[in-house]
């Protein structure tokens, strides 16, 4: 007896095997699968198999009030939930023509950038584990946890913050809290050199990651690659700069780039972005400390009687994984008529991953997946 999906091993005489890489595989990121056809340990063909985390988010959102959806959206991407909230809030604000208080925008940037740091630490922790370097994973996850502590103190939740709502944020952040974050940033900055020593300058890692899963700029553009993965090909595109939202146009930061386009370059871009994000957060803290306003939310309608004017909007946010967009359609009702979520990983984890893995070696599959920072729940929604 076999499960419907349990495919028979192909005849050995062709020297090619079909292998289910995941969903229950330590090398896969999240609950996701790749069906790879291997010849020896060389991958001849690969096909992504998703849907293990499918919850029908877009359908669920159509059935809930505009305010209720703030609880639903962060769950689309588990490791980096803040951009999801942000993107949804931006869309609703655009439709409702809300004027968000300046302080709220800076608070949101604070959340977004901390979330980016946390997600990056998590990702190269995971990447390190795929090349057998567990210490780095332990460090990355432990340091990420310190950021989660900050989130807990600011928003009341460790992983799902549900902090950003259309019109502003739910709570203010006090000066003491900002000082704590400042201290944490000092600590993280010191840790960066530790990470360099242990991981980014580590020969084993460099040898494994260099020239693995190379993306040329042309390929990257035509395959719809975005975010750090695109910047690793030498293209300095960043939604924060190109399609500025919140107060990113008032913030000084560099777009981190690398040129090689391989797994190493992608990680180095993340490493540089860590420093940039820390730099951004420091600016935000400066601003928030000087700013004496307590206005953190514009007047939103009673959540139980809230109709959003009919219209449609496409909002984009730079998440830690790339370009995240929401297409929100309202027919003037109390619930969204349609919400389409374009997670960055819907490109990275499917077509790009399939293409990069093909021709490579089996041992690199996990590494490539982590270097692309593919997030399956975003794909499946």
């Amino acid at each position: 007896m076999r499960a419907e999906n349990y495919q028979a091993v192909t005849h050995p005489e062709s020297h090619e095997f079909e292998l289910n890489f995941g969903p229950n595989h330590p090398g896969i990121e999240g609950n996701y699968a790749l069906k790879v056809r291997v010849n020896g340990d060389k991958i001849v063909a690969a096909k992504a198999d998703g849907g293990y985390l499918h919850r029908g988010f877009e359908k669920l959102m159509e059935g809930r009030l505009w305010i209720q959806n703030i609880a639903l959206v962060p769950r689309i991407c588990v490791p980096d939930p803040v951009p999801m909230e942000m993107c949804y809030a931006l869309g609703v604000e655009d439709l409702c023509q809300f004027e968000v208080p300046e302080r709220a925008n800076w608070l949101r940037v604070l959340q977004l950038e901390l979330s980016r740091i946390a997600a990056h630490l998590f990702t190269f922790g995971g990447h390190a584990a795929t090349v057998g370097m567990y210490s780095n994973m332990f460090w990355g996850i432990a340091d990420r946890d310190l950021i989660l502590d900050m989130f807990e103190q600011m928003t009341g939740g460790r992983v799902y913050h549900m902090y950003t709502i259309p019109g502003g944020v739910r709570r203010d952040v006090g000066v003491e809290q900002l000082d704590k974050i400042s201290d944490l940033l000092d600590y993280l900055e010191k840790r960066l050199s530790d990470y360099d020593n242990l991981f980014f300058n580590n020969k084993i890692f460099i040898q494994r990651a260099r020239d693995t899963g190379i993306l040329t700029p042309k390929q990257a553009l035509s395959w719809g690659v975005t975010g750090p993965n695109l910047r690793a090909c030498g293209l300095a595109f960043d939604v924060r700069r190109d399609d500025a939202y919140l107060c990113y146009d008032q913030i000084d930061f560099d777009i981190a780039t690398e040129t090689a386009g391989d797994a190493l370059a992608r990680n180095l871009v993340r490493r540089k972005e860590l420093a940039q994000s820390i730099y951004i957060v420091r600016q935000v803290i400066d601003y928030l400390k000087k700013d004496k306003s307590t206005h953190i939310r514009c007047q939103i309608p009673n959540p139980l009687a809230w109709k959003v004017p009919a219209g449609e909007t496409y909002t984009r946010v730079e998440s830690s994984k790339g370009e995240l967009s929401f297409y929100i359609v309202s027919n003037g009702g109390e619930k969204p008529y349609r919400v389409h979520v374009r997670g960055p990983s819907s490109m990275h984890a499917v077509q790009v991953l399939e293409k990069l893995v093909t021709g490579g070696r089996l041992e690199d599959v996990a590494q490539i997946m982590f270097s692309l920072d593919a997030c399956p729940p975003e794909v499946d929604r």
Partner: protein, 249 residues
């Protein structure tokens, strides 16, 4: 799910008989083995849903599951604990069941997050299963959306206590009441649902074959396997064996 068999009282007859029949040495060995078992647990490394994001912190230095003797394990056959970390989509549930059946007894299932209890956030979703215990026997639930690592650790400690007392026997229910679980699975996956593991054979192996092990649902399964010439339950493996042997010749 209107045609599901109502939950009946557990048939504890077999277990009572087996316990009574044990002599004092066997009981001492049982106590000792429970003691050891509780202190060396392997958690299957399978992230089914969002709750999995709190497992890395729980496993690594900050909350350090290893000090309790718990470690992640990559293969189902060597794992003791199946953590269901949140919602299970129907597609995942099939894999979870396949995985669970491959795990060797005694095995424990922990349901984490709201979703495993009553559907959680995704109660309206067409794609996720709602009540996990209808498909698998669950030993322990940890509340939260998602539970913090501390809560996960507490849950694991509770499970350890339960194992040490020899009370974590839910896995036996899967064999004793296979018909119930299979029926619910069939309701969700269709009447042709079948897995590579012959549960009834294993139930006999564990001496857990009881009155509720078989019923209408298992009859349906057996009918299907006979019709499709899959009477040998591990047929694919045997085919493969024979092929390799042929290859060697």
């Amino acid at each position: 799910m209107k045609d599901v068999i109502p939950i009946q009282t557990n048939n504890t007859e077999t277990i009572a008989v087996s316990k009574n029949s044990k002599n004092i040495y066997q009981q001492a060995i049982d106590t000792f083995s429970n003691f050891c078992r509780a202190r060396s647990l392997f958690v299957l490394h399978y992230c089914t849903g969002c709750g999995a994001i709190e497992l890395p912190p729980a496993m690594t230095s900050r909350f350090d599951m290893e000090r309790l003797g718990i470690q992640p394990m990559v293969t189902p056959r060597q794992a003791d604990i199946l953590l269901i970390t949140g919602y299970v989509s129907i597609k995942t549930l099939k894999r979870v069941i396949l995985t669970y059946e491959q795990m060797q007894g005694p095995k424990y299932v922990i349901g984490i997050c709201s979703c495993t209890v009553n559907g959680g956030m995704y109660w309206q979703s067409y794609a996720t299963a709602k009540v996990l215990s209808e498909y698998l026997p669950v030993d322990m639930y940890i509340a939260g959306c998602m539970p913090r690592p501390e809560a996960v650790l507490t849950g694991l400690q509770q499970l350890m206590k339960k194992i040490e007392k020899g009370e974590a026997n839910s896995w036996e229910n899967y064999f004793k009441r296979y018909d119930y679980y299979l029926g619910n699975q069939q309701h969700l996956f269709g009447d042709t649902w079948h897995t590579p593991t012959d549960i009834l054979e294993e139930a006999r192996h564990y001496h857990l074959y009881g009155a509720e092990s078989t019923g209408n649902n298992t009859a349906r399964l057996i009918k299907y396997t006979v019709e499709h010439d899959l009477t040998k339950l591990d047929a694919p493996l045997r085919e493969k064996d024979s092929m390799t042997k042929r290859g060697k010749k």
